[in-house]
Symmetry: C2
Amino acid sequence: VNQPFKQEKEITYFMCDRTNRLTLSMLVNILMDVSEKHSAYLGTGEEVVKGMGYNWIILHYEFQIEKIPKVNERVEIETIATEYNKLFTYRDFIVRGKDNNEIITVKTTFALMDLEKRKMARLPEEIIAPYQATFSKRIRRNTKPQPVDNERASQKVYSVRYFDIDSNNHVNNSQYINWLLDSMDGTFLATHTVKHGIITFDKEVNEEDTVTSSSSRRVANNSITDHQITVDGTIHATASFHWDTA
Amino acid sequence: VNQPFKQEKEITYFMCDRTNRLTLSMLVNILMDVSEKHSAYLGTGEEVVKGMGYNWIILHYEFQIEKIPKVNERVEIETIATEYNKLFTYRDFIVRGKDNNEIITVKTTFALMDLEKRKMARLPEEIIAPYQATFSKRIRRNTKPQPVDNERASQKVYSVRYFDIDSNNHVNNSQYINWLLDSMDGTFLATHTVKHGIITFDKEVNEEDTVTSSSSRRVANNSITDHQITVDGTIHATASFHWDTA
């Protein structure tokens, strides 16, 4: 049977925002770090995957956040590759805080990019087998964010910066999250935290791109916001977040 | 006598650039983290200092980099508060890599900001005594960066983003470093590493500011670059970096 993989992390000040809470982008960074360590432990780390001509991409996140950790807290991160089909593999994360309480769960969908063809690849047995995840033909229908209400949206434009690009030569996922949130009003961000969120990654953002980040609050429920990242009018990422007062 | 304080750090992928090398801004983040832990260990952590109406600010960094760590390396960071006078305290850092070799040394100048007056304060005995640093009347003359050559400078403009602001309510030092470097040519950055650097922080950058980052390579020695951050024509930070091919 497949084994979960666990690692402890300390929440340092540089992972936190002005309110000393872990940022969503740094949460993703530390989850991805544990995920990569899990793969390396199983002998299928980034270098092995790259050596076969692939890299992992993430298509979807779903966050359920009971309590966001604050600076100096120690958390335990558990991850497990739960299930896969010919194109996707599903990985769950559980973050535990003090007294071993579950404070965050995150469900993710990974796929393999063929580096030469720049297209998604069928998951090769050598890469997927070590996780001992369950094979299931079923392709999950991930919940999709709602479209941004353009009439009511606030919008900001960003040039990609040198340090936004990671070793896969495109913009790191965590940077999309900064753009998605930064388009919002600062006072709202400083007084609210995300309780639930979904993010889809639809297209890579490259070094020469100029991205537009738009967000709007729903009329029917103004504790929910919808977000999108576009490049030349094409959607590259979308998100919806459910907020609570901090 | 004053004791150095040490901590091990692992260089994770999110601390690295596209070439898998630790970024200068993340180096500063982890040094500051160790510095803060040293203070907390001595009972004069951020909360105590804030409770007295102050926070620490950094005025000057001088980096000497033999070898920049790469992803997955473990380093040991040692810090010691060496000396102080009525306004400044000097803190050194040594980063050691494999086989305990010194790979980076950093000299820093700290001062205390009076949060109410928004001015530098005399260092109170209660805050400075626990470090057991040496008192010396002498105020160091830190090496200053050379001015940017405006005729030959490349320049970029940045709006401050929500997540650039830290719990001291101004832009975190490490963000200045991203701006200072991002104004340079990407191909140069991808093929060179900093061997020596000096950075001065002259004025805070605030949330509503638009900053201009300019940099130029010296005519007399094109392995040295000079940098500045300005807001409305006023200099907020300067830097000079000596580069080597990566």
